[in-house]
């Protein structure tokens, strides 16, 4: 197995946590930029844009991570080319990381509903 195929396997295995990281960067970057430009309170048709965008990003990230979890749980996910027990281990971890990702994404996304944006 060369470095590229192994990297692919790692990316698949860590998918849940990588989605968490991407979501984190997105919501943090969006909030920081909106506040720096005075757009923290911007609304569209009465809906506060920043919290709405964060909720949307959170839902999308939850869906994607949920899909990773489901695929791994059903025996899909990064198959690799190892022996059966190694592959089962990798799948269990894939599902586990996705579970941890789900919890963390939800946890990080929830404040958008509770906390003022730029105060």
């Amino acid at each position: 197995m060369g470095s590229r195929r192994f990297t692919g396997l790692l990316v698949g295995m860590f998918a849940g946590l990588l989605i968490w990281a991407a979501h984190f960067v997105l919501v943090y970057g969006l909030t920081g930029l909106a506040c720096a430009r005075g757009l923290g309170g911007a609304t569209l048709l009465g809906v506060a844009l920043v919290p709405a965008a964060i909720v949307a990003a959170t839902l999308a990230a939850l869906l994607a991570t949920g899909a990773v979890w489901l695929a791994a749980w059903r025996g899909g996910g990064p198959a690799g080319e190892g022996r059966d027990e190694t592959v089962r281990f990798v799948r269990w971890l894939t599902a586990g990381f996705a579970g941890l990702g789900l919890m963390s994404i939800l946890w990080v996304g929830l404040p958008a509903l509770q906390v003022p944006v730029c105060a």
Binding site: S3, T31, E81, V117, C118
Partner: protein, 852 residues
Amino acid sequence: MTERGDESAVPLPPPGTLANPGPRPPEELQRLERAWACPTGWRFLTVVNNSYVGVIYIGTAMLFFVLAGILGLLIRVQLAVPENDLIGHAAFNQYFTVHGTAMMFLFAVPMMEAFGVYLLPAILGARDLPFPRLSAYAYWTYLIGGLAFFASLLFRLAPDGGWFMYPPLTSYVFSPDVNADIWLLGIGFIEIAAIAGAIEMVVGVLRTRAPGMSLDKMPIYAWALLVLAGMIIFAFPAIIVATILLELERAFHWPFFMAEKGGDPLLWQHLFWFFGHPEVYIIFLPAAGLVSLMVPALARHPLVGYRWIVLAIVGTGFISFGLWVHHMFTTGIPTLSLAFFSAASMAVSVPSGIQVFSWIATFGRGRITWTVPSLFILGFLFIFVLGGLTGVMVAVIPFDWQVHDTYFVVAHFHYVLIGGMVFPLFAALYYWWPQLNGQTLSHRLGVWAFGLMFAGFNIAFFPMHLTGLLGMPRRVYTYPAGLGWEWLNMISTLGAFILAAGVALVLFDMLRRFGLRGRVDADPWDAGTLEWLPSDNYGTRSIPLVHTRDPLWEQPDLARQVDAGHHFLPGPVTAAGRETLITSPLDARPQYVMRLPGPTWVPLLAAVTTAAFFLLLAFKLVAIAIVAGVLTVVLYCVWMWGSDQGEDEPPVDIGAGIRLPVDRSGPQSHSWWGVVTLLLVDGTGFAALVWSYVFLWTVSPEVWPAGDARMAPLWWLAAGAALWVAAGGCFAWARRALRRNAHGMLRLALLAGLGVMGAAYAATLYPQWGVAGLDPTEDAYAAIVFALLSWQGFHVGVLTVMVLYTLARSLSGRLHAQRRLTFDNTMLMWGYMVGQGLVVIGLIHLFPRAVG
């Protein structure tokens, strides 16, 4: 058990197979011993074997622990009574800065890496780490840099801006002397050692495991080191970039952190803590990994929840990157942003909790033995959990606002760090000490030492929670009487000395019983992991076939079989003599035999010149520094010249009818994996720089160009980008020529590549000062543009050396289609550099136009 196709590896023999069942020829062991003999006398300095480098590495880290600890005691003496004038404020500032910096950079991280260097090959069943000379080089840079750093105290030149060196205090206006430069350049280059260690760990864990040790059978400690390495790869570049930017500001007045010129001191805080928070876990996770190795042996029960611990270690590693702003809750960052970090700070306690419960469950299921390591582990659990609880408290934003920069925080992080790392470390020192010479440390003294350390620690640091809540700020050299802080401070000081007495007792016992024997044949704990196999300078006599997580418990007679040479590779198979097995990353199936280098002076010499380069720069002795830098590059080339011997040996028999090639090139080779890991470090550093660009634009859009003013015409972008692509094309051309062994064409392509790369860089650099007229001292925009250009320029310089070296290999007949590691490494770097060049030129030309 199904074997899926992996053309690069051979199938594993079934469990229980003896690879070499017959008696071994008597001279085989002698040849193995001769090949791995430790150099004696003054030539000991040339040693590269991990068993020796690891031990002196651990010893050096202990030395810095003691020195930094003495500074801690001096701090406590100064604070014992109010209005004390024993140590002046200037010296006090230096003491706490050096105490914190040394504990983190010279003790905690290096100690964990040192343990990795020592233990990793043994627990994996390898003969050595994949890059032994790199470990030796890392060690020597660390030793010289660390000693120079402490020596600066003697001349009152030590840094005094706190371990996190916040600008503007540490920039040229408020810290004009060299103190801050000693930190930036002195500590900056020691990070080379950390990164070198990370590359060793990644390649070591993934490629040098004993056959059969698939990912699901790897000791937890190996997982911890893998995550440690991953975290170093993604965290350390941020501090390296921060260090470079602050040094550029100090030396050349490029205003990255000066608000009046569009810079922002918060940029430093972001970069520092993006490194600084994961740093805590970089320290804690390997220590927790050591605990996971020790607990099963001490509880006489396999680790409960193996998979959950792996999940927890990796999860902690990831989430720890989402915590950095919790060190910046009082800096005026938007409330919602703070809430993200508060949430992540609480989320990270979940995986940490999983590990703690798992250890408790293992102790509960097994039968705890009341040895000194057990005591230290129980002490660790108690102290670390308390530190974790106060961690959740300071993750609550309003609470943090109250206690930020008070002694409450000092108490919290000492509970986490001393609890999470120092107590496991002392458990580990007691546990693995018998590996040195077969002797165990004194149980009686150990119990006393533990009692003093545990009591002393809590007496010293628990009261600090209260002094903090009573409002005592950190880093004050004295305080007035009458604020209710006096008796708490006095108790803390007493506790610190009790803690120190405990440490001194351990050191006394260690000095009494020190001795290096090479041979390991004691297993006093009746442990299940491979490092307790009988071993010598060469590691184990033969490399075991593993099919369980605790092989010494579950594979009866393994120790005898391995020591009698009945497993893989029982003796030297090449002229080099020093070899180890490279196995596949997932299932650890044998792939090839790797030749390892023996003793050499080069790592030590290169470390001396590297240290000279950085330290002379700190003292502004630029001309001599450049000489040292050139010498370093020459030494690197000398170092590499003997490597890349090509696939010149016929396949060799390692046992069980398996014949393996000797050394490999291409994506399977350990060298390729090492360079890819290095490029990840490089790419992360570049990402930190690009992030700095965007951050500065976010805070100071007014200094960014509006319209076409201060911008070069777009055709410069087209020309530059085309030249970068052409430079990449030259290398593709060279690769084709090498594959056909067309050496003239190869050299022509390499030379053309050098020329085109130079032109591409010129077309990227020139328009910024020649056409747009940017002056990097003018504002933060110009400064960050020139920082990006300098970064790319550095890479062009490195590539130039690499291409010239590749040409030299070609001209001396050391480069052809079957001997091409040098070329492959240069090619990987080249591809990366071209991609980076395109991003740099695209960002500089397009970003201001897109947002302007």
